[in-house]
Amino acid sequence: MSDVILQTRGLTKHYGGVHALEGADFTLMKGEHVAIMGDNGAGKSTFVRQITGVEQPTRGEIHFDGARVAFKGPLDAREAGIEAVFQTLALADHLDVPDNLFLGRERTKWNWLGPFRRLDYRAMHADTIAALEKTGVKIPSIRNTIQNMSGGQRQCVAIARTATFHSKLTIMDEPTAALGVQETAQVENIIRTLKSQGEPLILISHNMRQVMDLCDRIVVFRRGRICANLRAADVTGEEVVAYITGALTQPKYAVDGVL
């Protein structure tokens, strides 16, 4: 079991009458890159919100890094070592790029002042430029506020934030959805770097080429349930699409005898 970084058992989330996630059993090995695919509204982001502590699951267990966890909030998850790029990005609109990048873990001086410790703007500034360059995004001025950024620029800020800090597990929810051709390539490079450093990753994406290129394994969600768990090397894109659309279901995930 020591090779498992994340495991969920029977993870379930209902919103009122909506059964958004139903009994998800999911396992991630150390160093492994797994893709989650599925229709819109299949429950992928819901799954991510449960394991990052943004929401409390209705039922089910989460084991992380060898211990059972029940994160009260995203702060707990982050402190346990989970970094996430959320689909909603989670950026503060009125702050500028460095502020957002370092939100919650600012570089500071005079730390004995507690909450009133001094911000080290200079250090954060330099690091921000470096982090952005890794994503390949072009931002004319990082002193502009996030609300004035284009969709892709925002997304790159969120990705740069995750990539800047080391973690035990990285989760990216559709990170390249709004990105241009070049920026997508750069972000894929970042992911490859994580792989070479042995950091595990959960990648949610609708982009078949990307998933096939980057991931070891593909888990398919359908109607709030996991319906397939595939080794990327063993399947073709068409097969994966068949699982997504419901043309195929792996026998062990069949519900009520329906494949």
């Binding site: 990052t52 909030g73 950026l91 503060a92 609109d93 502020d99 072009k138 001025s141």
Partner: protein
């Protein structure tokens, strides 16, 4: 800073055009209002060409009417102190309606520990703690007790807002009603007067202005250069994002409201000292004045935008308006009507200039 470090390229970017601090608009509004009063003083016949800010009668050494300059700041210094705390609350996207009532309750409680033993030679038998003999106490006692009152009230506000997630409007409205009740109950509505000389010194002369200035400068630095300030803005800008970024939003909100309570307590101590009395009705409507100062100074009620400099300028605008009306000897009825219009006008002006600036650039 060179252009190279400002970004990662892309569009053409004209560095010269970047800085246009919104506080500038507020400052211009201030100047405009002063100018209007000055001009009115010249053209209204009954004013005999008296000047608003300048010394036309040779009463002072400088060219300014120093008495006027002083009162302009003095009369808003105390509400200004409250406004510093309220500004932080508003920056988090909240609101604090309780500050005026906290002033009332704190003033009553603090003052009752600051009583002299003798008034006009006879024992001050009406001192709240006369029987206990708690009179002529060192000034630290009422000050510390007052601060604790404010901190506790603010803490309760903060805990309510942060942990029960009720709207700040309601949490602080509840505190407003409750604290006013406490203020009346403390001495069953009796005013508390006759403080010790050392307590009376806190609010004497221009001291309130100095206290305000020091606190404003301090909080300017705090909001701009510390983690506390950054997280305050972040929470106001997008609370969910702040939470997901791993900021301890609940602890931070509690801190913000507590600090606001403490600032209200400081205001209460200064106010009761300045007036040499504490009354249960003290501070009524101060919360609205404080909020108005902040908003006139460009603090967005949605949270996340504005600065302490703006609030200080907003306070000055208030002071100028109050003084200007008396200077023009405007009828009390018209004063109120005009005050409403000017508050609105100042903000409209600010908005309009901001939009024009955004458009033109």
């Amino acid at each position: 800073m060179t252009g190279a470090t400002l970004g990662t390229g892309g569009l053409k970017y004209d560095h010269a055009k970047r800085h246009r601090p919104p506080e500038l608009n507020v400052f211009l509004a201030l100047i405009l209002i002063v100018a209007v009063f000055e001009v009115l003083g010249q053209i209204l016949p009954y004013m005999n060409g008296q000047s608003f800010l300048f010394d036309t009668q040779g009463r002072f050494d400088s060219i300014f009417n120093e008495a006027r300059l002083k009162i302009i700041i003095l009369q808003v210094a105390i509400v200004g102190i409250i406004a510093l705390g309220v500004t932080q609350v508003i920056l988090t996207g909240g609101i604090d309606l309780s500050s005026g009532s906290i002033v009332g309750a704190t003033a009553m409680i603090a003052m009752s520990f600051a009583q002299v033993a003798e008034v006009n030679g006879s024992p001050n038998t009406r001192a709240v703690f006369f029987e206990q003999g708690w009179v002529d106490l060192p000034v630290l006692v009422p000050v510390v007790i007052g601060l604790i009152c404010g901190l506790v009230a603010g803490l309760i506000n903060g805990l309510l807002v942060a942990y029960t997630r009720i709207p700040p409007f309601i949490a602080t409205l509840g505190m407003m009603v409750t604290a006013r009740g406490v203020a009346k109950w403390w001495t069953m509505g009796q005013p508390v007067s006759f403080p010790t000389d050392s307590y009376a010194a806190i609010g004497a002369g221009m001291t309130p202005v100095y206290i305000f200035a020091v606190l404003a400068a301090l909080f300017y630095l705090v909001m701009r250069h510390t983690v506390y300030g950054k997280h305050t803005y972040a929470i106001g800008s997008n609370m969910d994002a702040a939470r997901m970024s791993g900021i301890n939003v609940q602890r931070h909100l509690t801190l913000v409201y507590t600090i606001a309570g403490a600032l209200a307590a400081i205001a209460a101590i200064v106010l009761s000292s300045k007036n040499l009395t504490a009354q249960a009705g003290m501070g009524v409507m101060y919360e609205l004045d404080a909020i108005a100062m902040a908003v006139i100074g460009g603090i967005s009620l949605q949270g996340g935008r504005g600065s302490i400099i703006g609030t200080a300028l907003g306070a000055l605008i208030f002071g100028v308006i109050l003084s200007g009306f008396t200077y023009l000897r405007l009828d009390a009825y018209y004063q109120e009507m005009a005050k409403g219009a000017i508050i609105v006008g100042a903000v409209v002006l600010d908005q309009w200039r901001q939009r024009r600036a955004a458009q033109r650039s």
